[in-house]
Amino acid sequence: MDEISVRIGGSGLLWIVPALPLASAFLDLLLGRRLGKLAGLVASATVGLSFVMSTYLVFQLLDVASPEGRLVNQHLFDWISVGRFTVGADLRLDVLSATMILVVTGVGFLIHVYAIGYMQGDPRYGRFFAYLNLFVFFMLLLVLADNYLVLYVGWEGVGLCSYLLIGFWFEKTENASAAKKAFVTTRIGDTAMLIGLALIVREFGTLDFGTVLDAPGETITKGVATAIALLLFAGAIGKSAQVPLHVWLPDAMAGPTPVSALIHAATMVTAGVYLVVRSAPLFELSGVALTVVLIVGLVTALFAATCALAQDDIKRVLAYSTVSQLGFMFMAAGMRFYTGAMFMLVAHAFYKALMFLGAGSVMHGMHEETDLQRMGGLLRRMPITGWTFVVGALALAGIWPLAGFFAKDQILEIANHTGRTWIYLLGTLGALLSALYIGRLVFLAFFGSPRSEEAEHAHESPTVMTIPLVVLAAGAVLAGLLFSTSAEGTLARVLEPVTGPVPHGEGLSTLALSAIATAIALGALAVAWWVYASGRVEWLTLRERLQPLPRAARNGWYVDHAYSTLFVNPGTAAARFTANVFDTKVVDGLVNGIGAGTRRLASAVRLVQTGFVRSYALAFFLGAVGVLVWLGTRL
C-alpha cells in the first residue's frame, strides 16, 4: 500500500509548529537577561501558539474522509545526499504524530505557565525558559520526523535539554552529577539505537518511514527484523527509563519540578513508547521482539512499583511511579495493543504532570521540603493543590471514570482476552501496587495532621501555578470519557491506519474485568488509608519490623550500587590511572622525552662547532680524501 500524502488546509505550515519554540528559545537565550519577566511569557505564548497551530492542523487532518489518506508530508530541504543514500529534513503529520504534538504542546503550554510562577526570582530565569522551549522544539522534531534520522536528532536533542535542565542548578554538585548520570545512561541506549539505524540503512537503503515501515516483511527476514527491533527498543529502554537503564530517572528529580513534570513524566520519557509504536511494522515481524518488550515492561512495572512504595521523598515516589507506568505502556505495546499504549501515554501525561506540578506546589508552599514524613494535613492548607492532586492520584489508581481507569483496565483486558493469564495476574498485581503507593503518598502528604513546622504554616501557591493544575485535572477526568479505547472507541478508530487493529479475543467479560480492577484499586486505597491516614497504625514501626525489605526497596533494590561496583568504580579507576599514570608518565614522558632528547642531541652536535678554523680545514681534507677514494674505486 503506497502512502499518499494529501494537502490539507495549512499543511505547508507544519514546520511552524516546531519552529516557534525554537525561535523563542533563541530569543530567550540571547535576550533573556534583558527580557526579565517577559521571557517566561514569551516562552509560554510561543508554545501556546504551537498548540493552537497543532489543533488547527489536526482538525484539518481529521477532515480528510478516508482514514488511509490522513497523511501530510513536508519536505523542508535535502539534508544528506551521498551516492544513493539520501536523507531529507522531512516532517510527517499522521494520526500518531498528531496525537503526540497535541500532548506535547498542550501539556507543555500548561507547564510553561506554571513555571512562570515556580521559577520566579531565579537568577537564570530567561535561560530556563530558553532550555524549556528548546526541549519542546526537539520533542516536536522527534514526533514530527518522517525518517529515523530526524527522529534521532530530536532524540538526542531532548537528551541534551534534559541534561541542561536537570543540572540547571548546577551549583550543587549532586545536581550536575544527576544530569551527567541521565545523559550517560541514556547514551547507552542511544548507541544501540544508532546501530539499529545503521542496520535499517543497510537493509532498506533509506531511513524514510514511508519506505521502511510500508510492508517491511518483503524486504527483510525475521531475524534481521528482530535485531533491528531489539536495538531500537534498547534506545527506548534508555530514554523511557526501563529496567535495566532506569537508574537515572529517580536522580533526575534534582531538577526543577516543571522539568520533572514536562520531561520526565509527560514527554521525553514517552519518546520510547512513541518509537516502538511508530516502528510497529518492524516489531510485528518478530515475535521475539514483542515478547521482550512485554517482559521488560512487566518487570519494570512491578520493580518500580515496589520501589515507589518505599520512598519518603515525594518526587522520588512520582519518579518511580513514572517508571512503573511506562512499564505498563510497554506491556500494552508488547501485546500489540498499540492504541492502548498511546492512550495510556496521553492519560499518564495528564495525571502525572498534574501530580508533579502539584508536588512542586507543595514544595513551594513548604519551603522546598520534600520529605513525606514532614508533611501532613496539607489538604486544608492548600486546597486547590490538594484536591487536584487527589484527582490525579485517583486517575493513576484507576478509578472510574477517570482516564487512568480506562487506560489500565483496557490493557489488562487485552491481556486476559489474548490468553496471557500470567501477564494478566502480574499486571493486576502491578495495578494493586500502584494504587497502594499513590494512596500512601496522598494520605501521608495531604491527610492526617501536620508533622512539622513547614506543614503547619503551608500556604497555597499563586494563581499562575494553580490554574494549570485545574486544567490538567479536568483533562485527567475527561480524557477517558472522550477517547475510550475499546475497539469501537474514538482513539482506536483514529489510530488504526497507523497502529493496526486492536487485538481481541475471548475471556472474562469487560464488565467483570472492570469490576475486579475497581475492587482491587479501592481495596488498595482503603488499606493505604488505614495504614497511613487513620492514625491507627504506627507505620514507621511496621516498616522497621519489615526491614531489610523496605530499605532495599528504598535503594531501588541496590541496582545503583551494583552498577557502581561493576561499571562506575572500574571506570573511575581506569580514568584515574590514565590521567595520573599513563598521561603523566607515558605521554608526557614521551613528549618531554623527545624535547629532552633533542636538547641532548643538540648539545652533543654543538661540540662539532669548535670555532677552530684548522679543525674545519681538516674536515675539508677528510672529505676530499674520501671523495678521491670513492672515485678511485670506481675506476
Binding site: R614, L618, F621, L628, V629, L635
Partner: protein, 187 residues
Amino acid sequence: MPLDNVVFWVFAPISVASAVGMLLMRNAVHAALFLVVNFFCLAVFFLILDAPFLFAVQIIVYAGAIMVLFLFVIMLLGVDRGDDLRERLVAQRPLALALAAGFVIEIALAVRTGIGFATKAPAGFEAVNDPGNAQAVAKVLFRDYFLPFEVTSVLLIIAAIATMVLGQRKARAVTQAELEAIETTGP
C-alpha cells in the same frame, strides 16, 4: 744525455726537504727562506721540462716578488719571534698525517693507473717551441687565451685597489678644540 735525469734526482730531494723545512721551522723568516729555496727548485724543474719562460717568471714573480712581500709583512708585524709548536687541538696532528699519507698514496695510484710510471716525455717538443718558448707562449696567450688575459689584468687592478682600501687607517674626526688649537698657534 742523462743529465736531466741527474738534475731531477738532485733537485727533487732538495725541494721536498726545503718544503719539510718550511713546515718545521719555528721562526717565520726561516720558513720563508726555505720556501724560496723550494721555488728555485721548481724553477729548475720548469727548465728541464722545456718551459724556460716559466722558469724565468717563477724566479722573478714568485721568489722575487711574492716572497719578498711575505718577508716584508713578517718583519713589519714582528711575528718572527717564534711560534708555539704545541698542538692544542685534539687528534689534529695524527689525523692530518694519516690523511696526508693516504692522499699521497692515492695520487701515486692514480698516476700509475693514468699514465703509468714508465711513460717518458715524448720527443718533438722543439716543434712546439718553434721560434722560442717565449714567442710560442705569447702566440698561444694572445691568440687563444686573450680574454682570460684581459680579465686577469683587470683582476690585478682590483687587487691593487682592494689592498689600498684594506690597508687604510681610519682618519680620526678632528675636534673643534683641535681646530682652534691649530688656528691660535698658527700654521
